[in-house]
């Protein structure tokens, strides 16, 4: 067979080897993740992420309201807040 054909065979062998190796690697990696107690069902895992985001948003709104109340109380008591103008981490980057 000519050299081009040999090169194609070599690439095919390499690709199939990658497929086989990835199968074994992902099997162990996935099994290891499940052993940590990770959610096995895909839809439930996505639902957990959605729930976590909703919980984080609810907490964020709650602490925003509390921070507003504290700021008002400090102003009424003529106390200078420290820090005066805090910057959240998301606005620093």
């Amino acid at each position: 067979m000519n050299r081009a054909g040999d090169a194609v065979v070599a690439v095919i062998i390499a690709l199939l080897s990658v497929g086989g190796a990835a199968f074994i690697r992902n099997l162990f990696a996935g099994w290891k993740t499940l052993r940590t107690g990770a959610q096995a069902r895909e839809r439930k895992a996505i639902a957990d992420l959605i729930q976590r985001r909703e919980d984080a948003e609810a907490d964020r709104d709650f602490w925003r309201r509390i921070a507003g109340r504290y700021a008002y109380q400090l102003e009424r008591a003529n106390i200078e807040p420290n820090p005066a103008n805090p910057t959240p981490p998301s606005e620093l980057s």
């Binding site: 199939l16 497929g19 199968f23 990770a38 069902r41 895909e42």
Partner: protein
């Protein structure tokens, strides 16, 4: 929030596995020609198609990410090989078009694997941080 089921995905993977089983007996001419110097390489290709199809079909049907996480990479490489075989078959524009399509399927399967890998990563993170 009720997330939709995707039976079409499971059915597609079943068809891939069935195609692989058939290919073990009757390999596609392009793959057979491309792999002809190495005995049983075409059978190895077909076996990966069966293995990847079965794992992915079970995962999709039972809503378990492990199935596709494990089964998609064999399918990706199978379609990449099929695309390469078609592109190098020298059979004109039809084979060229077919090769492009098959390679594109490999790309789409890779994109799906990236999504499943993200789900696996996030599920692992939730388990570690105890947020469940």
């Amino acid at each position: 929030m009720k997330l939709p089921r995707r039976p079409a995905r499971a059915a597609a993977f079943v068809l891939m596995a069935a195609g692989g089983a058939a290919a073990m007996i009757w390999p596609p001419p392009a793959v057979q020609t491309a792999t002809s110097p190495v005995y049983a390489l075409a059978q190895a290709w077909a076996a990966l198609l069966v293995i990847g199809g079965v794992w992915s079909a079970i995962g999709a049907a039972t809503d378990r990410w492990l199935g596709e996480y494990v089964g998609l990479w064999p399918l990706i490489t199978v379609f990449a090989v099929y695309g390469l075989a078609a592109l190098t078959s020298g059979r004109g524009l039809v084979a060229l078009a077919g090769g492009f399509v098959l390679t594109a399927v490999a790309g789409i399967l890779f994109a799906r694997w990236q999504d499943v890998a993200l789900i696996r990563r996030e599920a692992g993170r939730e388990a570690r941080t105890g947020d469940r």
